[in-house]
Symmetry: C2
Subunit: 284 residues, 2 copies
């Protein structure tokens, strides 16, 4: 039996979240960070165009009511040991990781003083958010890259250590848009103890304690290979397909909660969060 | 309780089957049709380039040992009532439908004397095969068109009547290659009594009685939404995502059988058919 998760919330976004309309997903991040009293840090470490991406999030978070927003970038490991990033994390009520390349996050932050500060503060309750690469890195094992397609092949995915803020899951992003069910299933065939979570664009999980809730305009596919009765991944060559029997699949939209303890979804649309998402959904 | 299926076998191919190498899938079709004694009819009705497609299958089926191969095309409904097609079906030991547009098959053959002859002869044991569009049309309800993507939206698929040779299933083809899990799930959300069968390229189901076996180099994804505990398709608008909970998913490769009666797979790799496929798999 695992100890219930007591760390701060996570907002794990499938990429390409709305930044000009109702901003359901980013608005929820700001709300959880304290709204007008939020002290946000935007980390552009994953991005190849950090100035542009940083300016975008600075503008949108301020528009959504956050008065204190700092954009910080990391281009080399030396910086992350620096006082500025660590001090910013210490002061923050929410830290947001932008998209880009998830290996830049682990490569430049992993094991640094900033990494330690992020983990300690998160354990104490600090809110973390991330989109695309910033979502992928949340788990202990992350998908580095893979091929699109609906059925799994052994060699269609490459997995490495993530930043380990959310254990027990494997996250994939841009999920529906890029047809990634095959690569997520490939990863789960190797690590069936992990729960596979494929998040569409403009869609997010809000993780709190031992459950998450879905917000945003798309869907989240949850693959549970823990109950699989057959899995031949160890007998297959990289170019070959994997066989898997009796995998459980849930496709969840805004208004669903998912309990990690027994891996079951529950429809709870009448939460305030879901109502906010619903109202947006009906306008589109 | 359904009556066990007593009709002839079906070879349902996900498209782009190997025609120059070991030809595992097409070779099995020829074998089931009687090998050297086979009398094959190739129907190019679905194709926009019937001459080219017909010549290709004529060559490959002859190379695989079939001595009698007739290519027949249908460009207008009048032809299908003609004696030639009906007489060819009466004499055949196997009828093969090429790829193209599945609506051409239903539109030009549906309800004609040839359609009646195909059904009567199939009920008496005639082997039928089809690839791509020729696979899609096998079921009573078929996917006409849809959008790629991994998560389902209500409006992402259009379904219409198929040729009704295989009841109780919804077939999708080019499945892994075109990332079609979302559109098949959309269709199943509406018709959860059907079993969803997504077939990769160069991969086929050999349907006999109340079970099918997988052959070829790819995988077959079987989605069972009959056991779903939540499905909100009726409450959603066409642009919206569908939520589905507790769908069962199997990814099957060569060597698997699937029982339609209790919707469960079984690994039976040591059948002669699977051995032939396995030997090819290990060479690649």
């Amino acid at each position: 039996m695992k100890t219930p998760r007591r760390a701060g919330p996570l907002v794990v976004i499938g990429g390409a979240e709305d930044k000009t309309g109702d901003c359901v997903v980013l608005r929820e991040f700001v709300r959880l960070a304290g709204g007008a009293r939020a002290r946000l840090v935007v980390l552009t470490v994953a991005s190849e165009v950090p100035d542009e991406v940083g300016a975008t999030y600075l503008e949108v978070f301020q528009r959504l009511g956050a008065k204190q927003v700092r954009v910080l970038d990391v281009r080399e490991r030396g910086q992350t040991a620096g006082a500025e990033l660590v001090e910013a994390v210490e002061q923050a009520t929410g830290v947001f990781f932008t998209g880009g390349d998830q290996e830049r996050i682990t490569n430049l932050l992993g094991g640094t003083a900033a990494d330690q500060a992020l983990h300690r503060r998160h354990e104490e309750g600090l809110l973390l958010g991330g989109t695309s690469a910033g979502a992928a890195m949340m788990s202990a094992n992350m998908i580095l890259e893979g091929k699109s397609g609906a059925t799994p092949r052994v060699g269609h995915v490459r997995i490495g250590p993530g930043m380990d803020f959310w254990r027990g899951v494997l996250i994939d992003q841009h999920f529906g848009q890029r047809g990634r069910s095959g690569r997520l299933l490939s990863a789960l065939a190797r690590y069936p103890h992990q729960l596979g979570v494929g998040i569409d664009e403009d869609t997010a999980l809000v993780v709190q304690g031992e459950e998450f809730e879905v917000i945003g305009s798309g869907a989240v596919a949850v693959f549970d290979a823990g109950c699989a009765t057959y899995n031949d991944v160890l007998d297959r060559q990289p170019s070959e397909h994997v066989a898997l029997c009796n995998v459980r699949l849930h496709v969840l939209t805004a208004g669903f909660r998912f309990r990690l303890s027994d891996r079951q979804p529950e429809f709870v649309a009448r939460t305030a969060r879901a109502r906010r998402t619903e109202s947006k959904r009906h306008e589109t």
